[in-house]
Symmetry: C2
Subunit: 377 residues, 2 copies
Amino acid sequence: MKHKKLMTPGPSPVPSFLREVLAKEIIHHRTDEFRNILADAHQGLQSLLCTKNPVVILSASGTGAMEAAVSNLFSKGDKIIAISGGKFGQRWAEIANSFSLDVIEMKVEWGAAADCKKLEEIFNKNKGVKAVLTTLCETSTATVHDIENITKIAKKANAITVVDAISGLGQDKLLTDQWGVDIVVGGSQKGLMLPPGLSFVSVSDKAKSLMKESDLPKYYFDLKKALNKHKSNDTPYTPAVTIVAALAVALDALNKEGIEKRWEKFEKLAKATRAAAKALGLSILSSRPSASTTAIKLPDNIKSSQIVKILREKYGLAIAGGQAQLKDKIVRIAHMGWINAQDLISCFSLFEVALKEVGHQFKSGSSLVRLEEVIYG
Amino acid sequence: MKHKKLMTPGPSPVPSFLREVLAKEIIHHRTDEFRNILADAHQGLQSLLCTKNPVVILSASGTGAMEAAVSNLFSKGDKIIAISGGKFGQRWAEIANSFSLDVIEMKVEWGAAADCKKLEEIFNKNKGVKAVLTTLCETSTATVHDIENITKIAKKANAITVVDAISGLGQDKLLTDQWGVDIVVGGSQKGLMLPPGLSFVSVSDKAKSLMKESDLPKYYFDLKKALNKHKSNDTPYTPAVTIVAALAVALDALNKEGIEKRWEKFEKLAKATRAAAKALGLSILSSRPSASTTAIKLPDNIKSSQIVKILREKYGLAIAGGQAQLKDKIVRIAHMGWINAQDLISCFSLFEVALKEVGHQFKSGSSLVRLEEVIYG
């Protein structure tokens, strides 16, 4: 009978109007019925990503789409910069290394955003860099990199920009075409309110021309084939039909609300979350915090795994701890997709209870007061 | 208000007891709750595949798992035999070519099973072949290759056997360990009664030792990482949580009925389907027909696309036509997963109506009489 709530940065809650779609009878994928659904999903993704570029849907989780970007754009030995300030920036470097690229890993302190001047210096020192691979919201630190400026710098060096927007998409501002981002990678299980199983790749004309030269092996993630099928609202291989059907419905709902409105909403929720944490005497990890997730630093005497455990086991509330060097140092609270103000109020109420249990001192209810002030007031 | 029925060889119908699981609230994948589900799924897959080898679950459709087998087992220039007697045998050759293997494509007439003597000759002529890549049920022709003998021949040459069992699994007999099959690839959307989105790979010790030498690039489909996580019922990347949850329930149901019983059941349904087709004056394409799907040849004056269209548009019944050189020459009726005798009776009743509409002559109801005779008695 325990109530359960998911406030982790992916998977995030799937609302009942989408879970109902997941439970519908399956339809065949080589039919007009499915092609119409796919057409809706393709258009909806373009709206959400603010792009006229085609956005192909892959049946794989986000890492699969990240691999697709690498294996389709580059050739062995190609020079790329991977901005690495957390687990998912590191993943770009790992994937690129797996495919024998010449990887310049730009290390950024965890919790900080990439320093654009340093990036410019790296470009100046290293001629012939083909691309910069970076992250919209670095989920492990809840930090947003300055994609607009990173893209400008890359363009000056005639390099393309590849952005992992898996956890940021839908909350953190991303103007794909206006900023000139060549590749955006997304996933179904965060801001899109769906289960994991689908990922997306938007492809600019410049990225398409790079793809022509690529000599890396690929088959399932061959984007040329996927783009070709995309034209007729089809896929090269059997897609995850039920999740695609729910995706079309999710995108319709998201785009009806409007992406700008959603950015504002989550910016406000994120601001409120930061204010609430501060009211409890806690601080924010990130110097450029995300609108999708907030990473809250805990005092040295409190292990975040304790807090996560209490919330999960006693109260059915799932929030995330820290990963790697941030293990036990932070908690991460997601505000993405279907999560709203009421969820945050409820979350902080339990967070206060858990903090009290481990002996942290603060004024009861103070985080809730601040949440209300920022959100409603 | 139109009733709809899916009798295509994948996706195949998803029963309501599994669609209900797909509609459940999402759970986080890094929890004991999910690890228990994954443990059940892992065990269930071993039972279904008749193997003690670990079976890893990948969030991708079947082709992704086929690629995983190729990119993890081999190195550039490795010699392999691909048995190619239909679209999916060809796919093995295509994937292996994409990864620059030295591919010996053993061409088999579409509708025929691989001639094991010829395979032996190929092995004798070509020294150093590392593997034979083949198909349990070749979906495009509804033909089952003799996996038991193919494996024996490969073993003599010290080669491993890699079997695409995507559409055959659950209906066509496959004794992974007893026959000594090294790699079995499966998918969720056929005999497992689930939507597409998951695939599986079972890995023998010999395959594991080949994996150590492989130098092909891979990341998302890295089986070493997947096998390592498999030990603690975990996955390297976010899995398609909802389909995995339904998979555990599906496997429990399938294994409770028992795989041997299911082989018998579908063998009988397939036999009945062949008898029913013959009663209508039609013939069977395959010389070694599958228990999962039946391919029925139509007279030269009838295009199968006509029949498929009438059934789909007028009666909501989806069966498949032929692909590539079999386009318009055959229809394919699936009997897999959730499909049962009553579905076949209903399908043939409509098939008779469509055949009449295009002017084919036969005794009304004769296919239904034969179905009843073979199935019930």
